[in-house]
Amino acid sequence: MGKKILIADDEKSIREPLKDSLEAVGFEIIEADNGQETLDVALKEHPDLILLDVMMPRLSGEEIIKKLAEDKWGKDAKLLLLTNVSDPEKMSEITGTKGSNITLFDYLVKSDWEITDVVEKVKEKLGVD
């Protein structure tokens, strides 16, 4: 327990239920509401997992991954993409970024997932009961 999760989404109404649910099961939550802030917070706080929205202002999810890959810590970061864009080509472009150890667990279409299922997925990926 006590693992740190960064919730990166420009919509507060998405971040808030995620934050509440994940805190309820014992995760430490930090937030970012745009791309640049996501990168800054991640590089400062070194979260165990980033729940990353793909479409965000200032820096897109794709650019964030690229930047992370250039960072000493960031190249080993673990990410779970949360999106409302079901675009497999774009996703494979993102996940196929070379020269990094970045772990992209999965991409979830937000509207298709119940909040409890998202929590279960996070617990599973982080190896937490």
């Binding site: 919509e11 409302n84 079901s86 119940e114 909040i115």
Partner: protein
Amino acid sequence: MKNQFSLKHIFGFKRKNRPDKVNRTSSLPNDQILKEKLLSGGAGDFFESMPEGILLVDTKLRVIAVNKKIEKWLGYSKDSVVGKKITEFDFLDNESRKVIDNSHKKRLQGSAIEPYEITIKTARGDDFSGLVGASVITDDDKKPLGEIVTLSNLGEQKAIQYEQEQYVSDLKILSETAIGLAEFPNTDEIYTYISEQLQKLIGDTIVFINIFDSEKRVFRLKNIAGIKDRFKTGVKILGQNPYETEYPASEKSIRNLFQKNLFPITKGVFEIGAGKIPRPVARTIEKVFKITSVYGIGFTWQDKLFGNAIVLLRNNNKLREDIIETFIHQTSVALRRSQAEQALEKARDELEDRVKVRTADLQQTTQDLEKFKLAVDNASDHIIISDENGVIIYINQPAAMAAGYSRQELIGKTPFSWVHQMHNKYYQKIWHKIKVEKKPFVGEITRRRANNEVYIAEVHIAPVVSNGKILFFVQIERDVTRAKEIDQAKSEFVSLTSHQLRTPLTTINWYAGLILGESIGKINEKQRKYLSEIKEANQRMIKLVSALLNVSRIELGTFIVEPEKIDLQKVSQSVLAEVKKSIDDKKLKIIENYKPEIGKVNADPNLIRIVFQNLLTNAIKYTPEKGTITISVDRVKAKDSDQEGYLIKCADTGYGIPKDQQSKIFTKLFRADNVRDKSIEGTGLGLYIIKSILEHSKGKIWFESEMNKGTTFYVFLPREGMVKKAGTKKLD
């Protein structure tokens, strides 16, 4: 000729060989001297052989000798005449005696007397008409010894003259006929003319003219002359036109007519009647009409019989064969010519009629063609006609305008000469379809105008095939660029807004979920119920958005088909597990029937999943409680073909699809009336999506349905499975 033996000649002859002066060396009486001088030796033979009757008389007109002609003509024997004076002959009337005596006396006095006519009563009782001439015979002292009296048979001469006149008249009729026939109009009037001429030629006769129909083997009556009026009246009473009457021609009569131009019909009217006129009746007819003999005349030409004349002679009238045969010959030629010309005229008339009809047809066709051309020229669609090698032979104005060239510039080029970009494989595919398979091609091609502007054309190319040979290709195109742009914009709009919709939908879903999960505090039953309603409505909205997204992906053509080996049974079972709750809620019975030997199928798992999801959720939705749903997968042959593949069958015992709406069931946003009435939720997109998926991957879908009994959907996948398709979007 008998005319040549005139008295002049006789005497001329006599003067030459037998001088009138007789040598009076003996004392014999005059008659003895005459006999000796004129009748002895060869002269006697000559005397007998003369065509004239000759009497040798003394100066007192006493008969010394006569030749046999006198005996023959007058019927009196030599002995009853010789020794008698002519003026004492009791068979001469007084006037004749007087004339003879006077002329005799004048001659003895040295006057020349012209021959004169007398009539003698013969021993047979009839009158003999003769011409009398005489010549005085003198002795050496020019003293008359007697006379040679000649008697010419005037009756015989008249007969000869008559015969000659008749002959001339016949010749006149023949030549008149020849001219008449030659100038005669080519109508049936020729038969009247022929029968009239024949009647003129023969005299008192009845003539029937028939033509011979060689196909029907009948004679057809064309004209009657001689009793025409009476016959006509008779026939009128019977109410029948005598002409064109047909009667059978016996082979014997045909043979006779053909072999002999003219032949006697020995049994007369009875024979003509061909058994239809009883013998007594035939005899009566012959009696009434004074028919004494009957002849048949055949008109033949080049070994063919084409007509005949039946000639019934009356009052012992005779037929002159040579004249008639000439007539027949003449007439045959003319008749034949007339018939040939009639046939020719008929043929010409028919030809003219046919030409008229054809001309009218042609005019109509030309008018139709012109209308057609105008229509095609002015059609809004682009129309191109090219020959079997794909060379343009016609292009309408809109097509040329779209290409940006003149019509003349494009004729002779191929319809592919102004494409923007076309993969060689696509080009070959089109050609294979239209040229080898000889089937129409339907698709899109990107074209470039003369000004380099690019446009998308929807193209239909149909080969026009006759007897397995391609005559030409008809290509109809439409510039769909604008329509495509609008479609694209529409789909992009749907896609974008769907994404934007998903975020607030997620928010509602998650917050409602949090409250319902009571992690932030207890809620009462009413609150739970209301929140559940909100969540459920929201879920429907999420599904609708997903479906709309799928439709826009399908319509944009951006969805991916990524086939891999999958187990249809597993997909089916997995989807069933997903929808287990709704199955249980409606207490539905599920029957699963998977053939173990189906093995794995090459298909996109995502798409197959959508197919199963839609089939099963529809079956659940539209089947009342406690109903049955049967799902099966089998290997089969395709409907209407020998193609092998996989058949997914989903049968329910539900409401069914109304007959009148079955054809619309795969249409986008369509929902049948009966399920709308039952307020069953649905987007009207599910079947449209499945059908689109299957059409994009060589599969098929169809169904059978009966109202309130249920519906069975069939999905067929070819053995080789789905075909890979590149794209950018997955379907959800």
